[in-house]
């Protein structure tokens, strides 16, 4: 019976898209409960209703089923891509629980494998950068190769062409020359594996054919069809070190497959994050000077001014998505908390993925979802 009322009240602010408009919402929750269930209300002091109501029977006494049935999820769930470039992507996940969106985010950061430099064999380093700092910098360089083409290496494995990528770096700044900036472009891929001899005590690099080296490649990686026409390069144009006249660096770097939870250098994303969609609602008409004040206060220009004739002006919410929740609009004055209502929609996530370059962002997300599926499958098989 309260249904019509509910729609009216909650939509009073006429946001452009509201998930409350969807026809397939569970019917019959009183409007204030429906509001608590679907919105975070951001008051001046603190946000309220921040939790999600998970329990399926939470509203059983009102005859409302709160459980997300699979069919219902399938009807409601939407993805909207906002921006997609080679290494960065923004999209909306609509109609999904935060626990699942968060699982995707956590997997993106910590459980998707990439290749990264793990061992550095330093033959000579007379630069001002200490060996360990240099090795750490090398480790953080993104290697632009699909990690799915490689295997993990475990403690007792030998380094072979299926689990290791070897790079050589040999740069020197001649006496009398200007200072030299060493970029990642100087890293030379060694598709045949290490050139450093295993037994030699003085680790001079003398390229030889037969003797044992630090890796045991059975064939050249360059001869494998998957790398034949695209050499495995690190991300170009990253500064590794600066050399003064007379300084030299000679080293070999071995990259292996790993995951972000072991060390952040293996994380395939610069970062991945989400935020809930802001919903900004004017509870009463804001006119003339007040409207000017409101428009000028918002640092990200959420509000616009509309002429309503007779020389009168009215504030409108034009770009709620841009709202950063700085709450400046509530701080204009005491009565403003009654005029502006800042909310977040609990099941609408603006997801952003910044890839480091190994894989494009859309592939990263699909892989992350696959990993969550694998986790479920593992539990199912162990329980069966």
């Amino acid at each position: 019976m309260a249904e019509k009322n509910e729609k009216k009240q909650v939509n009073e602010g006429k946001g452009k898209f509201s998930s409350l408009d969807l026809p397939d919402l569970p019917k019959g929750l009183p409007p204030q409960l429906e509001f608590q269930r679907t919105r975070v209300l951001c008051n001046l002091d603190a946000p309220i209703h921040t939790d999600t109501v998970m329990y399926g029977g939470a509203y059983a006494s009102m005859g409302v089923d709160n459980s997300v049935q699979l069919d219902y999820f399938r009807q409601k769930f939407r993805v909207e891509v906002v921006r997609l470039t080679k290494d960065d992507m923004e999209f909306d996940l609509i109609g999904i629980d935060p626990s699942i969106a968060n699982a995707f985010r956590r997997i993106l950061i910590a459980e998707l494998p990439t290749m990264a430099i793990e061992k550095v064999l330093i033959a000579n380093n007379t630069s001002v950068i200490q060996d360990e700092v240099l090795a750490h910098r090398l480790g953080l360089i993104p290697i632009m190769v699909d990690p799915r083409l490689f295997e993990y290496i475990s403690e007792n494995d030998t380094n072979n062409e299926k689990n290791t990528i070897v790079y050589k770096l040999h740069v020197r700044c001649e006496r009398g020359a200007p200072r030299l900036t060493v970029k990642t472009n100087e890293l030379k891929w060694l598709p045949n594996g290490s050139e450093l001899l295993l037994d030699s005590k003085n680790s001079d690099s003398n390229p030889t054919s037969k003797p044992r080296t630090y890796t045991s490649f059975s064939c050249s990686q360059a001869s494998l069809p998957k790398f034949a026409n695209n050499p495995i390069n690190p991300m170009p144009d990253i500064t590794i070190a600066r050399l003064g006249p007379g300084q030299e660096i000679e080293l070999e770097a071995h990259a292996v497959k790993g995951m972000g939870k072991t060390h952040a250098k293996w994380s395939p994303v610069a970062t991945a994050w989400y935020r809930m969609l802001p919903e900004v609602v004017l509870l009463e008409d804001v006119e003339d000077e007040d409207a000017e004040k409101l428009v000028n206060t918002c640092p990200v220009k959420v509000f616009d001014i509309e002429d309503i004739g007779n020389g009168k002006k009215k504030a409108t919410v034009a770009r709620p998505r841009a709202c950063t929740l700085c709450r400046e609009c509530l701080r204009i004055g005491e009565e403003w908390e009654k005029r502006v209502s800042l909310r977040r929609i609990k099941d609408h996530f603006i997801f952003t993925i910044e890839s480091t370059g190994a894989l494009p962002p859309e592939v990263l997300f699909t892989e992350a979802v696959k990993i969550l599926e694998d986790k479920c499958e593992r539990v199912i098989t162990e329980l069966s």
Partner: protein, 107 residues
Amino acid sequence: MEHGAFGDQSNATFSLTEEDHTLANAVRFTLNQDPRVTFCGYSIPHPSDARVNIRVQTTGDPAREVLKDACQDLMLMCQHVRSTFDKAVADFKTSERGQAMNIDSEE
């Protein structure tokens, strides 16, 4: 993975190794959606131990089956997310070619 509580099948604690909040929190969500579940929750006994305990109490069905169903549900949800996402990306890629950058105006 071990399985605590042997007498009564409807209450059990499952101890998953090599898992953390990522899976446990998502499974807790799907478990809570299941009307057969009276209580469920998870804890990580020690942060340096890669292990999570998931407690499931049901109205009578074996907890093991209920947990299995929850994982199944989560997996199906993931598959749906993946197909929806792939479709959205494919649509975006084709649409963008036509109309440069006017994507957020479609509602």
